[in-house]
């Protein structure tokens, strides 16, 4: 058997196993032993939690099991969910009470920034707020036109400049427009950028400085958008964007697929950044406030396809 067919064969088995939830896995154990924790760790890694965070979670569980003298494997399920939810709880609310406040949306290419802005704008409009969108992605083909569609859908005002303009200058204009028109919130779109490109990260820092200068006392959210299908690289993304722009929260998108987005656990563990929203589709109302308990449940309970 060639290596290929071997791996394929192996995957077939995994899929069967993967399609079973943690609950089913626990069901197959009669006592709590090391192999149970090994399987648990495996399931966590499969949800993109990452090896070291998965180990930490299992360590915490081992400790709890010992402390509480738990012997029933199925009791682990609740403890696991609680452990994970505990890690992620806190800091979910948007802090945008000043008038105006600013939301700067950043992230690598194609994660869902522009779409998320459309969704947030629509949400805020629904709360009766006046929203201005700043089209500071002046780089990608038709990025402004895309945001324009979202502005129409959500009923927000759009501030734009021609393609190729300085993004910081668009942000300046958007803030000025918000002040002049008495808007409640300014949301700025930015071009997707990979976090290892220094000049592009410097550009973000510059945008941040413009906002600070123009609205020194305003509430400011800097949301990092992460694609839930992303693996461990998301930790690097969060670290570098944090350094360049000071992230206040994460929006985890594309959770309507089978990806689990477990990497946010590693990010919370290493950098302490909270998740604020999740994206669950491409429509305007496919945005939900983050709920740690529900997320923890979905991370383990959701059936995989097949």
């Amino acid at each position: 058997m060639g290596l290929f067919s071997k791996i394929k064969e192996g995957l077939k088995k995994t899929r069967d196993k993967m399609s079973s939830s943690v609950e089913t896995m626990l069901h197959s154990f009669t006592s709590i032993d090391e192999s149970l924790f090994e399987e648990l760790e495996e399931l966590l890694v499969m949800g993109d939690v990452g090896v070291s965070t998965a180990e930490h979670i299992c360590d915490a569980l081992r400790k709890k099991v010992k402390e509480k003298g738990v012997t029933d494997p199925e009791a682990i399920y609740g403890m696991l969910r609680e452990t994970v939810a505990e890690m992620l709880r806190g800091g979910e609310e948007l802090n945008i009470s000043t008038k105006p406040s600013v939301i700067l949306v950043i992230g690598v290419n194609g994660v869902g920034k522009t779409t998320t802005i459309g969704k947030i704008a629509s949400r805020l409009k629904g709360e009766g707020k006046k929203v201005v969108l700043g089209a500071a992605d002046t780089f990608r083909a038709a990025a402004v036109e895309q945001l324009e569609v979202w502005a129409q859908r959500s009923g927000a005002e759009l501030v734009k400049q021609p393609e190729g303009s300085d993004p910081a200058s668009v942000v300046y204009d958007a803030v000025a427009a918000a002040k002049a028109r008495g808007a409640d919130v300014v949301i700025c779109d930015t071009a997707g950028r990979l976090h290892n490109k220094k000049n592009l990260m410097d550009e973000l820092s510059k945008i941040g400085r413009v906002i600070d200068r123009e609205l020194p006392d305003a509430d400011k959210e800097v949301l990092l958008v992460l694609d839930a299908t992303t693996g461990q690289n998301a930790v690097n993304q969060a670290r570098e964007f944090q350094n360049a722009a000071g992230i206040t929260g994460i929006v985890l998108t594309k959770l309507d697929g089978t990806a689990r987005g477990g990497v946010v656990l590693a990010i919370r563990e290493n950098l302490g950044i909270p998740v604020k929203f999740i994206g669950v589709g491409e429509k305007v109302d496919d945005l939900q406030p983050f709920n740690a308990d529900e997320f923890a449940e979905a991370l383990f309970a959701r059936e995989n396809q097949e």
Binding site: L3, F4, K6, I7, K8, G10, L11, K13, T14, E42, V45, M46, G47, D48, G50, V51, V108, N109, G110, V111, G112, G118, F139, R140, A141, A142, E145, Q146, E148, V149, W150, G192, L194, H195, N196, K197, D227, T229, T230, G231, Q232, N233, A234, N236, K254, D256, G257, T258, A259, R260, V263, E282, N304, Q305
Partner: protein, 306 residues
Amino acid sequence: MAFEGLADKLSAAFKRLKSKGKLNEADVKEAMREVRLALLEADVNYKVAKDFTNTVSARAVGTEVMESLTPAQMVIKIVNEELTALMGGSDAKLASPPSPPTIIMLCGLQGAGKTTHAGKLGLMLKNKGHRPLLVACDIYRPAAIKQLQVVGENAGVPVFEMGQEDPVKICKAAVRHARDYGNDMVLIDTAGRLQIDEVLMNELKNIKNEIGPHEILLVVDSMTGQEAVNVAKTFDELLNITGVILTKLDGDTRGGAALSVRAVTGKPIKFAGTGEKLQDLEIFHPDRMASRILGMGDVLTLIEEA
């Protein structure tokens, strides 16, 4: 860099092994644990990583350590060779049917880089003397058609569009158009979709059945985590893809998704996307990818020099 990590850990694992005789089972087992962890940190699918290290173990046990190498280097050499072999040859040739046009369909998850890579391929083919035609089949994403038009204009390649018409109809008309106007290459940009979205997956299948593309390329973001296996497997099962384009390799991801995709589909990775500009398209290099996944550039040169 992560490389030091793996090399150091392997060296430590082999510290006890003083002689340079044959690699014994216990030592290899210890080393494979480290290799497996490195693969997982690189986002290689859990099961793929396990099967891979099993295969490597089988080959490594009993292997004579070369005079010039340490046991750790020897293991890295074997791992790298196997990984490169698994990653496949570097044949990026596109199908060339007896009668033009060659029809190439790009598909994949949302935001993977399909539209951008339609433009990149268009430019590359144009520069080779072809007369490509880009086809706008994403009728859902806001401003998707406009984006392809801008990309096409920048590449100097014509774009065929029919607004929000049914994608199957658009494709049929586009192929007719290509025949009439002497376009020998037709590049179809489709909307991003989740592999579990039955309606949209069927749309691709219908396009395939109606116009019989010669190439169906799955566009995969190199930052994808464990989910890469589900994505690649479903797209391949449904459409029998002919190859893969791995995008956003200009980032700092280790790119383990490449191995997962390759392992589950057996289809070649034909091109690598290395930037947002239209020139940023390269032929895929399996050996470079292998070193990248292992997080080691220098040790390979080290081994070669030894």
